[in-house]
Subunit: 325 residues, 2 copies
């Protein structure tokens, strides 16, 4: 093979560090957090058929692999600093690597991020990124802070990624423009980093919606020991999704997966502050319900009904969920 | 499938945190380094056929997956704090997970480590661990610090892992006891964490030998802009390896891979300090040569000869190196 492991790293995955003393090339990356800050770390592994389809353009895959990790930092209100990339590749495919690296670096550049370490190996395609960010001591947004009476909010729109998946599977038909739009939502999610930062000190809890709204909200409810009422009609959706049958809309909105929007709670007295944070971040937010002390998730549509949490438990990578296979 | 993703995490990969505020269960792990310390991070991905054989007992695989990462911290002189585990599994195999988790937790416990985050997914078996450690500001052992005149040292013994691989491949025959010993070296490497810590302020450079002595020494020479003379006869080896033919011994010692010993340099004036550090860490060290300003690696046996660095460039995961396939 013409290109070896070290050539591969040098050619596609080495750029000058933006932040000292971060950098690739020794046994470890060294990070010096600012005084008064904690480091926040998260790790996501992407596997073909589960997190992306073989049809994804490499540039979008590079973007998505980093985006889903930045989304975790966003959900904690952390400022991204750098990331480690571990990559298993079936072969050194230059066209793939060129596109993948481009998508990765474009998003890294937009967030002023360094690639500080990692690993490459031959093997079935697998992308594992660990992101590192910083957050002022004690200010991280956590899942356990929701309180009865809090408003429940979500950013952006939900469900388009799942809609694209249904179209890829041939279960629904979308016209070309609608498909392109839904597909972009699935393949190029925008991590809500700026919103996460703006919500520090405003939101009482936060999580990113990666496995479906109902499932991820379930994590917040369990960790906060509270319940919630969600108004189905208030869930923000694209025009494309709005044109779909109601049951499909509900499925995509509540259990879609791959949304990478922020789901967060804030006291009702903080509505102006939430809206100001969203404006500052340039992201739409919608108030979709409220927290109560019921320990249950109720979804209210025309006829109010309470969902069994298990009905919409969200994407389970070992269950029969909507894996992209 | 009976066991889902969250059950899997709860059952096998959740233990109370030893160090606050580390812990699993939110979008990110939060780490608070001590004042005056830097964080050191490293990430290794293990793939079947490349980093382990299908014959490896799960408990040893759990050990090894963490050990190879701790070895990177050791090479930086960093004190391990925690790790993130990303795991792709073809299926939820309870016997495998039970053994794997046991090996992982045994080693984590021995180093007082927390599992602070990670990810699990269905997919071809892949283990990606990111370790985090801390090191006093400016005291990390780096690859670029070797100076002409420094002694060259290595810990433990070299080559047994490669010997086991040759036996697994049927290229050599070992008696049962020799095979068991070589196999243990391959499957259960001991990360030299205590030695790395003891060498802070003593060693001028360090790296862990993961891809073969010659290849890894090459990294040190390039980054330090120096050369080295290695005495082949001084390379520490087990009794098992000593019984093999000389050419095989040389291959295993110089380009074996999977040794996870520390290769380090120190001024000749520090020999007593090096030996004291080794005693404190309970690890044997051997002086195997010295650094010069030649920019070349020379290996001296009966008849001194200079090796082309490319001849023993070490394990390349995309080259024709000694992958465990």
């Amino acid at each position: 093979m013409a290109v070896g492991e070290f050539d591969l790293i040098a050619r596609w995955f080495t750029r000058p560090a933006r932040r000292s003393p971060l950098g690739v090339g020794d046994d470890c990356a060294l990070l010096r957090p600012r005084p008064g800050f904690q480091l926040a770390m998260s790790c996501d592994m992407l596997v073909e058929g589960r997190h992306f389809l073989s049809t994804v353009p490499p540039q979008r895959l590079g973007h998505k692999a980093l985006a889903v990790n930045l989304s975790d930092l966003a959900a904690c209100g952390a400022q991204p600093l750098g990331f480690l990339l571990a990559l298993a590749l079936p072969a050194v495919d230059e066209a793939f690597l060129e596109g993948f690296a481009q998508g990765l670096w474009d998003l890294a550049g937009a967030h002023d991020l360094d690639l500080v370490g990692g690993d490459t190996t031959a093997g079935p395609l697998n992308i594992c990124i660990t992101v590192v960010g910083e957050v002022p001591e004690g200010q991280a947004l956590l899942r356990g802070g929701a309180r009865p009476g809090d408003d429940l909010w979500v950013s952006g729109t939900l469900g388009d990624a799942r809609l694209a998946l249904e179209a890829f599977r041939g279960r629904i038909a979308l016209d070309a423009e609608a498909f392109a739009q839904a597909r972009a939502a699935m393949e190029q999610p925008q991590p809500r980093v700026a919103l996460g930062l703006a919500l520090r000190g405003v939101a009482s809890s936060a999580i990113d919606v990666s496995d479906g709204l109902a499932g991820d909200l379930g994590h917040v409810l369990r960790q906060s020991r509270v319940g919630a009422v969600v108004e189905l009609g208030a869930l923000p959706r694209s025009e494309v999704l709005r044109r779909q049958p109601q049951p499909l809309q509900a499925q995509c909105l509540l259990a879609g997966g791959d949304d990478y929007e922020l789901l967060f709670t804030a006291p009702a007295s903080s509505r102006d502050a939430v809206r100001a944070a969203a404006r500052a971040a340039g992201v739409d937010v919608a108030r979709i319900g409220h927290i109560d002390d019921s320990r249950q998730l109720s979804v209210v549509d025309g006829s109010a009904r309470t969902l069994d949490l298990r009905e919409f438990r969200g994407f389970d990578h070992f269950g029969a969920g909507p894996a992209q296979s």
